[in-house]
Symmetry: C2
Subunit: 638 residues, 2 copies
Amino acid sequence: MSHQIHFQPDNVKIIVEEGDNLLTAAANAGVYIHAYCGGDGVCGKCKVKIDQGEDGVTGPPPGPDGFRMACQCSVSGDLVVSVPDVVKKDGQSLKRKPKTTRAISARTMSELVGDWHLDPPVEKRFLTLDPPSINDNTPDLQRLLRAIRKGCYDCVEPTFDHPQLLQELPFVLREKNWEVTVLMLRGKRSEEPDRIIAVEAGNTTDRLYGLAVDIGTTTVCGMLLDLNTGQIMAESTAYNDQIRYGEDVISRIIYSQRPGGLAKLQEQVVRTINKVIEAVCKSVIISPSDISYIMAAGNTVMSQLLLAINPKYLREAPYVPTSSQMPLTRAASIGVYAHPSVRLFLYPSVASYVGGDIVAGVHACQMHKSPALTLFIDIGTNGEIVVGNQDWMACAACSAGPAFEGGGIKHGMRANTGAIENFHIHPETLEPMIVTIDQAKPCGICGSGLISIVSELLEAGVIDQQGKFIRSLEHSRIREGKDGHEYVLAWGKDSMNGDDIVINEVDLDNLIRAKGAMYAGYLTLLESVGMTFTDLDRVILAGNFGAYIDLERAICIGLLPDIDRERFYYLGNASLTGCQISLVDIGRFRERGDVGRLMTNMELSENPRFMEHYMAALFLPHTDMSLFPTVKATLERL
Amino acid sequence: MSHQIHFQPDNVKIIVEEGDNLLTAAANAGVYIHAYCGGDGVCGKCKVKIDQGEDGVTGPPPGPDGFRMACQCSVSGDLVVSVPDVVKKDGQSLKRKPKTTRAISARTMSELVGDWHLDPPVEKRFLTLDPPSINDNTPDLQRLLRAIRKGCYDCVEPTFDHPQLLQELPFVLREKNWEVTVLMLRGKRSEEPDRIIAVEAGNTTDRLYGLAVDIGTTTVCGMLLDLNTGQIMAESTAYNDQIRYGEDVISRIIYSQRPGGLAKLQEQVVRTINKVIEAVCKSVIISPSDISYIMAAGNTVMSQLLLAINPKYLREAPYVPTSSQMPLTRAASIGVYAHPSVRLFLYPSVASYVGGDIVAGVHACQMHKSPALTLFIDIGTNGEIVVGNQDWMACAACSAGPAFEGGGIKHGMRANTGAIENFHIHPETLEPMIVTIDQAKPCGICGSGLISIVSELLEAGVIDQQGKFIRSLEHSRIREGKDGHEYVLAWGKDSMNGDDIVINEVDLDNLIRAKGAMYAGYLTLLESVGMTFTDLDRVILAGNFGAYIDLERAICIGLLPDIDRERFYYLGNASLTGCQISLVDIGRFRERGDVGRLMTNMELSENPRFMEHYMAALFLPHTDMSLFPTVKATLERL
């Protein structure tokens, strides 16, 4: 259930979900409330008054002064909330800066992914066979094929090539008196023969499931679909067990070169997939062997590791993958819990660092079939970028570095409990409002927090466009640290482990490099086809990270281009969505191989234009402010 | 080197090979020589005189009387040999009956199998790839495919679906600086894509081998072929290690139903195949992994056991095989020593008891493409019969019983050392001439010996057409035994183990049933299509047994039809020949699946016409003597 919160005196309204935290809601709405402790209730600063809808608040009762701590309140009804002004010594209220925050387009995903049909690549058919007799002792398989072809005179005969199925066939046919259900995988092209992948006794047509799997470097996400209805039955996510052998793809490649390393990494990712399978199957009480096929996508390193294909040459120039098309694999053959005949499909890769996850994402949003010029972005340690439309597509990976995942940032961390994920700064007092994940005491900064912090510091004039602190500012939170100047986000007394949590100039530098690489990537790809940002009809953000990005702030720091906000879309786990659609719609399934072939990879690492663009982008938001007209206007207003 | 032997006074000439035994040669020529001990040199009866060509004989020198023992002589030159007459007490020579013996047509196999082309279904291509660069970092596989397609614009792209090949590919390509040899399996049909089954570093096009395997119930025969030349490089035979779990297919099926039995039987036949592979590879010093593909044929039980497909229902009415087409299997997946990508093809079966070996034999002799009406026969425990031509083919199995393999015969044995394989009887003295395998003392009777014995006894008037001894005959070798009357082939003093070796009326009855079942099978099949024996253009004998059959004698007892002797052919191990040709000629390879489909199986076991024909055939040669005009004439002359 949704509720409206109307914040005063800012006169900002925001729609939140039942149970949302009031402090978080204020931060998302761009409403500044003093808050030092991240939401843990200890600093006692985040006082608000409920003007209307007192019953719509769950949490400790208001104090004698009528105020409540916003961080302790969860929302259960429509509210009008007053945030007290900060009052100056002279009795005047401090000015409140009107904020613009913007989550990325809430327009439905269906607008992006288009229509799809419930017509899965696997189908079950219930058949009643004539029992054999001495005058008709046709072999079991040929009897089955005859029943399949019955009444279909020009059908191509299905294929059936897995010995294990033949081993079971005589018994399955006789188990329920020659009543069987055949599971068929339809041909790669419509003129190709279907393939019988399982035969089950009796009528099992009501059980037809597919599994979509996004195999990420960090997490593996699975989605169980009922292919009779197209419904999502269950979803599950697990950390990729390979993590213990390296955080990122490069360290995984290095580990794979050790004796036994490749096998170990394969084993770990298979184990993770099996965890996901067990979880989704358990939640709907089916057996893993009821899953009829598996569609997976992962980056090139993950794909090669899953199949134990040595990724050595992915890392060495000139960065050659072993194959773009991944061989069709029987899931059970690599240890995945599945019926022995069940196929595991992997989306094809384009290049060493533009993998099947990106192809699946592009496939999900159908940019290869749309006239709209689209910039598709997946931000992470390796940012992947695709530009194009139905006529052409160019793609590239840029090694943004791990800043957006907390790497190379002094107090950087993944988006876990206690990570600062939202931040506001009071424009005059320069005091922070910090919001952490799970409203815990702060212990670090995650990617979305970092973007918030940097854009807020920039807009508040605490740092300059080079990411340096304004030396002339004197403030208790700004100080000289080991790594240059820093701003104290949380004092040790308010933090989880008692240390001051800061952001320093080295952190700022790393962030600028990361966002600069992404931006230079967009520009290089666009330029290579003679286009500019203004030609873009759509910018699609894929990946988990995109969900938490505040669009205005990401543009403010130059991570995203400064174009019409209506053109931005958030697609979520596009890779999983691509797999999901391919599971359900044979038309999409059959075209998936084409998507990768339509994408032309550009290696940026040794591209001189990329280097130029990169150097120019090492500025907040950019050295060429004409590229960021709205940011320019905002900064000039300060 | 061949030599001619001219036997006198019979005036019979025979061509023999260098080193052949003189007694065996005489027996094959139909020349009677007294010989009790099988050729061991102990009875000292087989005296002959070399009239011309003394230098052409190797063996002990002649005795003082100028005679030599034929069984101790081997032939090394043209000879004229005198066989002394048996002289009656009155000084007159006993009459010598002119004999007709006839090995089956010596016409070359090529007349039967037709032309074939050296154009194997696998081919190797040596390629030099462009090394990758930053401007061309196409994935390894796609780079390889590009090189394969080079200069071939409308080629279908080869497929490549085995993960293990991809695992090796990056290293193989780089091992010899982007020079590689691809091994491709050509498409099942010409319009189907080729399939890459191996990639080897450098130029290995000179090494291209294929293995033909006939998987018999008793023996497994392998033939290694150089596919670059079509030459046979090596052959090897091993007893099927399954034998310890049962002599015949029925006992194997029974064993397979025990816990672990199926796996055990699969393991044993795989082990046998591996022995054969090791033997042929060792003899030409190649590795099993140099074999590029394997074409095998076996009866339906052998085929199913090889793939661990339970043969239970093959034995239970209505005798339903699991599949006629056997799934394409990676040889290594069932434990066969081979490169992991190498395919093991199995000829399709037609019915539970008409298997891939018969299909391969029919395929070898191309009866499915010839206008000549052909009777194809494989005599054994399960006799298989195929009748037809290019327009239609009918086939059947008849359970002849094990008589031809020595089963159910008191002194029956397989064709091993000491088995009586040839036999003549003196028409007046009724004394035997016995020839054993390896010229050892006799220890039993093998199939060809049995046919010789029965036909000789019949023609000599020792037994009647019902297979009963003529009670009025008085002879030291004819006596009443435990199982009715019997004829002593060898006295205990001359035999290997000291026992008298006999043939009795129960043996005769079993032989009559066996040959009766075969003959009834021919007749039932022919009748079902409105034909008679006189319509037959060819009778082709396949299988090991056929090599040793004396045509006249087989016709005499009614095992083979009494038609023009010129129409009989012996094809040898037709199953292995079929595999061999399919290995070498893609045209033949591609049509092999059609052969089985063209064959219509008839179940004889419950066919009333078969039973009638069978009852009528329980006679030597048959109750209807008009079916055996030449035998009738011979018997009437007596």
